[in-house]
């Protein structure tokens, strides 16, 4: 038995039976990180010492018969945009290279209260802006399936670590596809919950009307287990939803879809989608039919406008959110400045990378006097129209099935020349954030190069259980 091949559910069962200790599991992962992550490069920070002492504490609780939860003692890792008290949180930016937060994000606190053991912090695109993790200030992360290719992004370190068995599970964040797309590229399961389902308190803000936290795991069942722990209302995040948290794992079990109505939006299976991916998604539809689902074509006539609307809205919100990096209260500060305005400008110009600057400038433009109505306000109106398209579809269907991305993982540097080309790769995922829905990415085959393909299920707000049922039917629990 290789400890690293075990799922979260299996680790939990073995811990409960006393057949495995948290220390054994944690050591297995730490030594794997030491041996193998020098090549994959998924971790920015490894918290080995703290992990071992937390694991020892979990074992102590288990031996006294008082575990904090069924997950007590299970290790995990975090995208480096979750604040962790006393542990560097860089957002893969020079701006936050040495930032040590004075508090911990709520989602992380919930995992800690369940006894989970933090292994470290994972690489990402700078400030979560990118689709390949290549915009990280520090280094590039390799796709464990094919090291010449990107792991996707922006939660590329999280996807790579879970796929390479360098963490049993990880948390990511998703503003336009940043959990689902890297999950698809690396062949794992990624959930973007409903907007407001998981607290964002302590998560470095990118685009506040779109950002959401979610689990990245090897199985659908593990994903549901973790979401049940991190979801729920948080007084520290006024946008978090007050609705009770169901036992998501219960819906990730049976794999029977009696009468579930699944829509196939034809706009997301059209000419822009690679043939291998279209074929894999249509095959997935057949699997769902065999399990009892009714699968039919449908239409989201305005979904292609989600992409320009997304880039305007997310860049505008980013321009506003990133205004806080001024070189004064925290983060990078430029040296040798004579005035406060020089401190602002020099710190920001030296601290931010190119992709971040480009989006701040696009967002500032879209919000600036004379252009606000033409771009920002119009994008928000288009947002309403896209939500209407989804409302119409959900009158007939319980969930929709689409590809996660129009292409599989690309080679390093292949997409970084023309930003519009890279942005176009987000076509299948951004509308889910724009409309505040939930979306689940599960593996559904490979292309001619053996690269993983992801299927995406989309459901109405707060219908994560539907996604887990469909996901478990397709990919097993």
């Amino acid at each position: 038995m290789d400890i690293r091949d075990l799922t979260v559910a299996e680790l939990s069962a073995l811990l409960a039976e006393g057949k495995l200790s948290s220390t054994e599991i944690t050591k297995a992962y730490l030594s794997a990180i030491e041996k193998e992550d020098g090549f994959i490069r998924s971790y920015i920070t490894v918290t080995a010492e703290k992990a071992l002492s937390d694991a020892a504490a979990a074992d102590e609780r288990r031996s006294r018969g008082t575990p904090l939860s069924p997950l007590d003692g299970i290790p995990f890792a975090l995208k480096d945009n979750f604040c962790t008290k006393g542990i560097k949180t860089t957002c893969a930016s020079r701006m936050l290279e040495n930032f040590v937060p004075p508090y911990t994000a709520t989602a992380v606190k919930k995992l800690e209260q369940a006894g989970c053991v933090l292994l470290g912090k994972l690489n990402m695109d700078e400030f979560a802006m990118g689709s390949s993790t290549e915009t990280s200030y520090f280094f590039k992360t390799k796709n464990p399936v094919d090291p010449e290719r990107v792991p996707g992004g922006s939660s590329g370190g999280s996807a790579a670590a879970v796929a390479a068995r360098l963490a049993p599970f990880a948390l990511g964040t998703d503003t336009g596809g940043s959990i689902r797309q890297p999950a698809a590229f690396c062949g794992i399961v990624g959930m973007k919950p409903t907007y407001g389902r998981v607290s964002r308190f302590g998560v470095v803000a990118f685009a506040s009307s779109l950002d959401q936290v979610g689990p990245m795991t090897r199985t659908v069942y593990d994903n549901a287990l973790i979401l049940s722990v991190i979801a729920g209302h948080d007084p520290m995040d006024a946008s978090s939803l007050p609705h009770p948290v169901p036992d998501y794992a219960a819906s990730a079990k049976d794999g029977i879809l009696d009468g579930m109505r699944v829509g196939l939006p034809e706009e997301l299976l059209g000419p822009g989608i690679s043939p291998a991916i279209r074929e894999a998604v249509l095959k997935a539809a057949d699997v769902l039919r065999e399990k009892g689902a009714v699968v039919e074509k449908c239409s989201l006539p305005r979904v292609k406008y989600a992409l320009p609307a997304y880039y305007i809205i997310s860049s505008a919100e980013a321009a506003s959110n990133l205004g806080r990096y001024d070189g004064i209260r925290f983060g990078y500060a430029a040296q040798d400045v004579e005035s406060i305005s020089e401190l602002y400008t020099k710190s920001r110009s030296e601290g931010f990378g190119w992709e971040v600057k480009r989006r701040i400038l696009l967002g500032t433009f879209a919000l600036s006097s004379g252009y606000y109505d033409a771009y920002y306000k119009r994008a928000q109106q288009v947002r309403t129209l896209i939500m209407q398209d989804y409302d119409n579809a959900f009158e007939r269907f319980d969930c929709l099935l689409t590809p996660v991305a129009p292409v599989t993982a690309w080679k390093f540097g292949e997409m970084s020349k023309d930003p519009l080309e890279m942005y176009a790769a987000d076509i299948c995922t951004v509308s889910v954030n724009v409309a505040g829905l939930c979306g689940l990415s599960v593996p559904c085959g490979t292309d001619e190069n053996g690269l993983p393909i992801g299927a995406q299920f989309i459901a109405k707000p707060l219908c994560e259980e539907t996604l887990y049922r469909a996901g478990a039917a397709l990919y097993g629990r």
Partner: protein
């Protein structure tokens, strides 16, 4: 829409970013491309459509106005690049 050099520099000044000559030129091209792409939004009729700022209808969230412990001042000050025992330090703003 072609973005001019002046527009790039104006937006950069608003965003407190300084750009080299080369960066300004590169951004002029890239921003023009992105704005052209955003202009496709004009193909849709949005007259009378209300804007959505927030996808989930949660509004006016209040809490009790209670006195609660806050962060430790020394701990917060440690995050500041320049500080003394009680204050964040910045370059002189008033002569």
């Amino acid at each position: 829409m072609k973005i001019t050099r002046e527009q790039v520099l104006h937006v950069a000044a608003l965003a407190r970013l300084s750009l080299s000559e080369e960066e300004t030129e590169r951004l002029q091209g890239e921003m023009s491309g992105m704005i052209d792409f955003a202009d496709s939004l004009k193909e849709l009729d949005v007259s009378g459509v209300p804007p959505t700022t927030h996808a989930v209808p949660v509004q006016n969230v209040f809490r009790e106005d209670g006195v609660l412990p806050s962060f430790d001042r020394a701990e917060l000050l440690r995050c500041a690049p320049r500080h003394d025992e009680s204050c964040v330090l910045v370059p002189r703003v008033v002569e």
